[in-house]
């Protein structure tokens, strides 16, 4: 029989997360596992810590509490650039439940919000320890046990952040792929661009070759040509019910171009 423990603070919850206990955020992942008998534990830990819902700006970075829901993100004026990303997650009911922290644990092909966070130089705060790079965190997430309290991201200049979710079902569907790019420019040329993909690997991943190819490039057809070539070797997408690895690889350059050049689609 499953026991649910509720703690007032994230730290208390983290302390209670020993053994095989799992942390419950919005419930969209854990409860599905509970319903299907797939949860490997009988202990669920949760926290009602209000700090975990806060969204705050400090300097060039923004901190988003891990318990903030997609709807919270959409309603927050500081996060207007992330509203389209949050809106691409599930339907309205899912967005009222699913949290920013939970999205970091969503398995392929989910986790589109984390893709955007990854492009925006996301850093993860874990209760009882310090900050950690999101990319590194995602790589070790399957063995992670603890409480993510917040994710901080860079605040992009207007127009420097791009996001697209490619889905066959509209308006709500799972990713064929999702793409996010933070495209800071210096003297008109790209400098320190970060490009991340979702549904193109086991976790959201950065396209390192693409980023290198974009360094110093102009954001135009010839400037991005090398990056479009690089994307094929950067990613090893899986087969799944939505699309094959072949197809994903084949259209990744197309969608990357559309993202980078901000092309209209239909």
């Amino acid at each position: 029989m499953i026991a649910v423990e509720t703690y007032a603070s994230a730290d208390q919850a983290a302390t209670a997360l020993h053994g095989d206990a799992v942390f419950l955020g919005g419930g969209t992942l854990i409860m599905r596992a509970v319903n299907y008998g797939d949860l490997k534990t009988e202990r669920i830990v949760r926290s009602t810590d209000p700090a975990m819902k806060s969204i705050s700006t400090s300097g060039e970075r923004i901190s988003i509490g891990a318990a903030a829901t997609m709807s919270d993100v959409m309603l927050n004026p500081q996060l207007a650039f992330l509203a389209p990303v949050a809106r691409s997650i599930g339907g309205p009911a899912v967005r009222n439940m699913a949290t920013v922290g939970g999205n970091l644990f969503a398995s392929h092909p989910y986790g589109d919000f984390a893709v955007a966070l990854l492009a925006l130089d996301g850093r993860v705060s874990v209760a009882g320890s310090g900050e950690e790079d999101l990319g590194a965190f995602l790589a070790r997430r399957s063995s992670f046990s603890g409480v993510v309290t917040e994710v901080s991201i860079a605040r992009p200049a207007t127009g420097d952040f791009r996001y697209r979710k490619v889905s066959r079902i509209k308006p709500k569907g799972v990713s064929v792929m999702s793409l996010a790019a933070w495209l800071p420019r210096s003297g008109g040329r790209l400098s320190g661009a970060r490009v991340a993909f979702g549904a193109m690997g086991n976790t959201p991943v950065r396209a390192n070759g693409v980023e290198r190819a974009l360094e110093g490039a102009n954001l135009d057809v010839s400037g991005i040509a090398e990056a479009l070539r690089a994307v094929r070797t950067d990613l090893q997408p899986p087969d799944d019910p939505i699309a094959s690895s072949w197809y994903r690889s084949e259209v990744a350059p197309v969608h990357l171009r559309r993202l980078l050049l901000d092309e209209e689609v239909s």
Partner: protein
């Protein structure tokens, strides 16, 4: 966005409009219940102490079960009862046994061999669904993996693993005689030889989930008077009741089934797998038991619309007339028959689609593979072949450079035309649908096509049954014994050109005519007198000669030996070719209104086995 118009101008004289209730947009009786959340679906019955059933399912495509270890599952918290194959009183069934079609081939629970991934092995009943799930996870099944086959044509090969022991050739047995359903009408082989073009295509229909929003399920409750009440979302209440009575070896009077308000079905709620298990659970525990599929089971264990593979070969004249059409079809039945055998027969009767083609043949196979059994779905038996036919029509149109709609109209069936299953078409409206759809979309068709009518220019010569070439190829077991037989009805191949037939040709030995059956028939049509009209009907594209092609009667040596052996063991098989008189135009039979159905009369009950099949027209060979 969308719009609806009623074309009351069409067929107006066939349709009295003086009715009070019919034809009016009355509110649905169930609308208020739906919008208030009060419509009573099967799961909307609350019982204290309701138990929940879950299944241990095969993780293998095809495997012998060496042993099953409960591994303490029966002692786990909340577990009330484990049900195994031996607990099912009559653990073998086939759905259509209720109408006497096919042999029992599927167990409710398997304990010896599993033939698809997800096949049920044992059931666990517990106080909560979660407890039942956890107990199922504890059970250990020791499998000895067997080779498996997933492709329909691979399954036909002699060395293919046997999927279903009841049908060791991996094909359903038709009429104790053939490994496929035949359709033979005219002589497509000869007609192809004089066609201007041969157009070929292969089409693959995917397996599709019915996906009703409500998953399949049942709640069974011990009722007063030693009966079991079963709330069900079955699409066929008495089908489920009868199936349950048979599997549980229980008089149907002991069962009380309630349902009727169902959250979508689309064909996926005919198979009656939940009801017998829930009822058995209630019997064995004396408590209310619910057995519902979760969405994952609904999608991967619940039977889908089966995949179908179709090949079509047309003989086409330069002017667009299709003078011959052949089909080779494979229904992927999965591991058991369920309803696929029936879909094959239904699909065969549908050929060649809504067209009057004077020479048609088909071989359609119901094939067993190591996948989830297929079952009914919206358009069952028809959707797949319609996809094939209508894609193919466009290829034909492209070949002869015709407007695709005009090509269809040129070949369209009309009132009075003979269909290849040898019943006259009536009440047709195919031409009008094409014309109206073209008009709505501003797709121009020539005036002579706009002037066509389903009511005119059918029948006459188009009502005749041509001299028909028949054969005995594809006897049950022939392929398994290594006979190398093409699956297609004739042997014309792209590579070999129009080779002569390699099979002995037998001929229909008597005139076909439903009136000879001596009992009322459905699908009966009057032969309307052709009316003079403009434009003229397309010339009926009948064979110029009514004699069989001499070349086609030559038996080929390589296939002969296997064939001859079979023939010898088959007393009913005619042993030599005989000429036959072509069927003249059918005389006008009495209309349906003059001969109403008489349900009180006894009716023929399926094919008698073994031996010669009775002939539907009332005559025997």
């Amino acid at each position: 966005m969308s719009s609806v118009e009623f074309r009351k101008d069409l067929f107006a004289d066939e349709r009295p409009e003086n009715l009070n209730e019919i034809g009016l947009p009355k509110q649905r009786q169930d609308a208020l219940g739906h919008v208030t959340g009060r419509s009573p679906y099967y799961d909307d019955n609350l019982y204290d102490g309701l138990l929940h059933m879950r299944m241990v399912r095969s993780s293998e495509y095809h495997a012998r079960i060496r042993s099953i270890s409960l591994n303490g599952a029966d002692m786990m918290p909340g577990v009330v009862r484990v049900i195994q194959a031996a607990d099912v009183p009559h653990n073998i069934n086939t759905l259509l046994s209720l109408i006497g079609f096919g042999r029992d081939d599927e167990a409710l629970l398997q304990d010896k061999k599993v033939s698809y991934r997800g096949e049920a092995i044992l059931a666990i009943i517990a106080e909560t669904e979660l407890q039942a799930r956890k107990a199922c996870q504890a059970v250990r099944v020791d499998y000895e993996a067997l080779p498996h086959v997933l492709d329909v044509e691979e399954a036909l090969k002699p060395q293919a693993p046997v999927v279903n022991e009841e049908y060791p050739n991996n094909t359903f047995d038709y009429y104790d005689r053939y490994d496929h359903q035949k359709l033979r009408f005219g002589d497509p082989h000869a007609a192809m030889a004089r066609a201007d073009h041969i157009v070929e295509g292969e089409y693959q229909m995917s397996p599709i989930e019915q996906a009703p929003m409500e998953t399949c399920g049942a709640i069974a409750v011990p009722e007063t008077n030693d009966r079991i009440l079963c709330h069900t979302c079955s699409q066929a209440l008495f089908f489920s009741l009868g199936t349950t009575a048979k599997l549980l070896d229980t008089p149907s009077s002991r069962l009380h089934f309630k349902g009727g308000t169902v959250g979508g079905g689309f064909g996926g709620k005919v198979d009656s797998l939940n009801e017998p298990m829930a009822v058995l659970g209630a019997k064995l525990t004396g408590r209310p038991v619910k057995f519902t599929w979760d969405r994952e089971e609904e999608m991967q264990v619940g039977a889908p619309r089966g995949a179908e593979r179709w090949r079509i070969r047309d003989g086409v004249m330069n002017d667009g007339r299709i003078i011959a059409r052949e089909f080779t079809g494979f229904f992927d039945s999965g591991a058991y028959t369920r309803l696929s055998s029936y879909a094959v027969v239904k699909g065969t009767a549908h050929l060649p689609g809504p067209y009057t083609i004077p020479n048609v043949a088909s071989n359609v196979y119901c094939v067993f593979t190591n996948r989830t059994p297929a079952t009914a779905m919206r358009g069952f038996g028809i959707t797949g072949v319609d996809f094939a036919i209508e894609c193919h029509m466009d290829k034909v149109a492209e070949t002869v450079r015709m407007n695709p709609i005009e090509l269809r109209l040129l070949n369209a069936y009309r009132d009075g035309d003979m269909k290849p299953h040898r019943r006259v078409a009536k009440n047709t409206a195919y031409i009008e649908c094409c014309q109206v759809a073209a008009g709505k979309a501003d797709w121009a068709i020539a005036p002579e096509y706009s002037a066509m009518s389903s009511l005119r220019d059918g029948g006459g010569e188009r009502a005749s049954i041509p001299l028909t070439m028949i054969d005995e190829e594809g006897r049950i077991g022939e392929r398994k014994r290594g006979a190398n037989i093409d699956t297609a009805p004739s042997k014309i191949t792209k590579d070999s050109g129009r080779a002569p037939s390699v099979i002995p040709i037998l001929e229909a030995t008597q005139a076909m005519g439903e009136q000879a059956a001596g009992r009322p028939q459905v699908g009966k049509a009057t032969s309307p007198a052709p009316q003079p009209s403009a434009p003229p009907a397309p010339a009926p594209a009948m064979a110029p000669s009514q004699t069989p092609s001499p070349t086609s009667a030559v038996p080929a040596a390589p296939q002969r030996s296997a064939f001859a052996r079979l023939q010898a063991s088959e007393p009913a098989a005619p042993s030599q070719s005989r000429p036959v008189e072509p069927q003249p135009s059918t005389p006008t039979p009495p209309s349906e209104s003059e001969q109403p159905y008489r349900p009180s009369e006894p009716f023929s009950r399926g094919v008698k086995r073994p031996g010669a099949s009775p002939f539907i027209s009332g005559r025997r060979r």
